[in-house]
């Protein structure tokens, strides 16, 4: 369930990322491609113009014998500047033009070999295109064309494309997230619905929107939920009926049983005076009525717990005093050793008494001669342990010791209803605690009752301790 709760968010992120990647990569490819096309066309264009101008310049120079006038003629053109290197003489140039040293050596070599050559260079931070050529008389000419504008335009284009790409990618991210959320909304709704179904809200249904796959899925989900709800309703009805029946049976048994219990008690007084055979039958009858009575009492109690209408009435109690009271009330004080720490907890006193009575009663019925009850505090819990030195619990019986009508030894369990330990555990759980059973290493069984100590009030402990002292000081009390 927890995995299901996380998946839609992860899936949503993945979908959004995929969307962004697709948009980002394709727009980047488009931008870079168009930039490259524009760049190469602008540069080719600029180079072609420079070359044709240079060709014209060379032809013009071939007709001028004194090279000194050349520079003036070129200057009137204005969109380039020139260096004239007559064979064996000093180079001539405008002062604003680059020096011959700034002509790349690769280019110089090509020009010296008689070719018309060009190369792009960067001089003082500006892009220039240098075209060089050689005349038949050995004079070499270099022309510098300023290409800065082309490169500036290309740079501006690059920036526009980058900003545009970023904006488009962000937009794609936003749209992708929204789209993913919308697309996956049915998934997250279904996951939520499944969770609330699991929590027991059986009337949970999904809205069936549209006739796409999600719509069909929602419809099947709803069918499943409906079937589940019907099935569980039928089951719980059946269970309700069964429990109501048990409760009714036990309840109806009570009236004749009350009469039987009274009659048996009176009959018991006469049994001793009866002839042997009727006397024996009378005693058997009395014992069986007692057994029937205990069984009915236990059935009534467990069906009350099953009905879920049991309420607990909590008060501050001293666990050791409650146990001592149970032992005294049942006449077990002489048979059972009690070691009790001062443990005060807020719990239902009557239920605690019931649990302790069942555990000790069970130990007396099945355990050995020596029974020890310990009351201790274990962190946030109160622990009541009942240990005996009897034969202990058979390993195959151990997991079922708290099952209803489970008896360790059917032949020996006269008197017991088989419900005592089940009732004790139900009561322990009603009190927010639990009951455990184990075998002691040295032999014998050990039952442990763990109850939460939810109110560790010092004031309360003092008050109870004070009350305990009052009890000791009281003349007519029977507390030990």
């Amino acid at each position: 369930m927890r995995v299901g709760a996380v998946a839609p968010a992860r899936l949503r992120r993945r979908l959004a990322i995929a969307f962004v990647l697709t948009a980002g990569v394709s727009t980047a490819a488009l931008a870079i491609g168009s930039y490259l096309i524009v760049r190469s066309s602008r540069l080719d264009d600029s180079a072609a113009r420079a070359v044709s101008q240079s060709t014209f310049n060379l032809r013009f120079a071939a007709g001028q014998t004194p090279p000194g006038g050349l520079l003036d003629a070129y200057r009137t053109r204005g969109d380039f500047c020139a260096i004239v290197v007559p064979a064996g003489a000093r180079p001539l140039r405008d002062l604003s033009c680059p020096t011959p040293k700034q002509v790349p050596s690769d280019l110089r070599r090509l020009v010296a070999a008689g070719q018309l050559a060009r190369q792009r260079v960067e001089i003082a931070g500006r892009h220039e295109l240098v075209v060089g050529g050689r005349l038949a008389n050995g004079t070499t000419l270099y022309f510098f064309y300023d290409e800065q504008q082309v490169w500036d335009d290309l740079g501006a284009l690059r920036n526009v494309l980058a900003v545009g790409w970023l904006a488009l990618t962000l937009l794609a991210g936003l749209i992708g997230t929204l789209l993913a959320r919308r697309t996956l909304a049915p998934v997250s709704a279904a996951s939520q619905a499944a969770r609330s179904l699991a929590e027991g809200l059986l009337d949970t249904r999904l809205p069936v929107a549209g006739d796409d796959e999600f719509g069909a899925w929602a419809a099947s989900f709803n069918e499943m939920a409906e079937a589940l709800e019907a099935k569980i309703a039928a089951l719980s009805d059946a269970q309700q009926r069964e429990r109501a029946f048990t409760a009714n049976v036990a309840h109806e048994l009570r009236t004749p049983l009350t009469a039987l219990v009274g009659e048996a008690e009176l009959l018991a007084e006469h049994a001793a005076a009866m002839p042997e055979e009727p006397g024996r039958l009378a005693r058997l009858l009395v014992a069986d009525v007692g057994r029937l009575r205990r069984l009915t009492d236990d059935l009534l109690e467990i069906s009350r717990i099953d009905s879920g209408q049991e309420r607990t009435a909590t008060e501050l109690v001293n666990a050791g005093q409650v146990v001592a009271g149970v032992l005294r009330g049942n006449g077990w004080s002489d048979r059972v050793e009690l070691y009790a720490d001062q443990v005060v907890l807020s719990t239902d006193r009557r239920r605690l008494e019931r649990i302790v009575a069942n555990l000790v009663g069970n130990a007396i019925a099945h355990g050995g001669a020596s029974i020890v009850v310990r009351v201790t505090r274990d962190g946030d819990a109160a622990l009541v342990e009942v240990a005996d030195d009897g034969p202990g619990l058979a390993p195959e019986f151990l997991p079922h010791v708290f099952d209803r009508f489970s008896k360790a030894d059917r032949s020996r369990s006269e008197g017991g209803s088989g419900l005592g330990l089940a009732i004790a555990r139900e009561n322990a759980r009603l009190l927010g605690g639990d009951l455990t059973a184990a075998n002691r290493p040295g032999g014998g069984a050990l039952f442990g009752l763990l109850l939460p100590v939810s109110e560790p009030l010092h004031a309360g402990e003092e008050a109870v301790a004070q009350a305990a002292q009052d009890v000791d000081a009281h003349p007519s009390t029977k507390e030990e």
């Binding site: 009236t255 219990v261 009274g262 009350r304 149970v326 008494e353 008050a463 009350a467």
Partner: protein, 226 residues
């Protein structure tokens, strides 16, 4: 002592066997099977105690209890179906002194009856206690406040006596059960709580803010000397 009891129980077998057991224990018993008949019988002669089933034809046990309490402090023991329902608390709040749960052993019923009846007899050394305008006359079995009789039942009166004899001392519910109800076996602490509530209702000027009988949280009760 030969106390005479009124037994109200609609099941014929239970009625018969209970009558038999009570008679063997030395009580005089008048038995009947419905609530209206019970009230008619009760009006005819005084009884020392009433045993009252809750589910009755005619007027139910609660109604009979309320009717009797209107005029008499006679001890009432309810015979209830279940110990853990509202039945018990409702019965106690209506003024019943005690209850037994079906199925019950007649011996237990007899023990409770004897305890209830014992509450109605004066203590060995009756005293006259005075606290301001509150006057408790143990011999005369009467408590008065500001000159008015409080008309307490025997249980309420004994509860007041035990608390007032040792002002300032904290009594746990167990000790009160022992002293007032006379139980050496496990009693129901709700008996004490409901009886204290009823006693406050008759005794205190403002029962919602008790000044005489204080609750010691988690422990029990204490009589505060005014």
């Amino acid at each position: 002592m030969n106390a005479h009891l009124l037994l109200v129980e609609d099941d014929r077998s239970i009625r018969e066997v209970t009558t038999l057991a009570l008679e063997r224990a030395g009580f005089g018993v008048t038995a009947c099977g419905d609530g209206t008949e019970a009230l008619r019988l009760f009006a005819q002669r005084p009884y020392d105690a009433v045993l009252l089933d809750v589910m009755l034809p005619g007027s139910d046990g609660f109604e009979v209890c309320r009717e009797i309490r209107r005029t008499h402090a006679t001890p009432i023991v309810m015979l209830t179906a279940r110990a853990d329902t509202h039945d018990v608390v409702i019965g106690l709040e209506l003024g019943a002194d005690d209850y037994v749960t079906k199925p019950f052993e007649p011996a237990e019923l007899v023990a409770r009856l004897r305890a209830v009846l014992r509450r109605g007899t004066a203590p060995a050394q009756p005293r006259l206690l005075r606290f301001g305008d509150l006057e408790i006359d143990e011999a005369g079995f009467r408590a008065r406040r500001g000159g008015h009789d409080l008309s307490l039942t025997a249980t309420e009166f004994r509860l007041l006596c035990e608390l007032a004899r040792r002002p300032g001392q904290v009594f746990t519910r167990d000790i009160l059960l022992d002293l007032v109800w006379g139980y050496e076996f496990l009693g129901d602490s709700r008996l004490v709580d409901v009886a204290v509530q009823r006693l406050r209702g008759k005794l205190e000027r403002d029962p919602s803010q008790p000044a005489l009988i204080a609750t010691v949280r988690g422990v029990g009760y204490r009589f505060e000397q005014p």
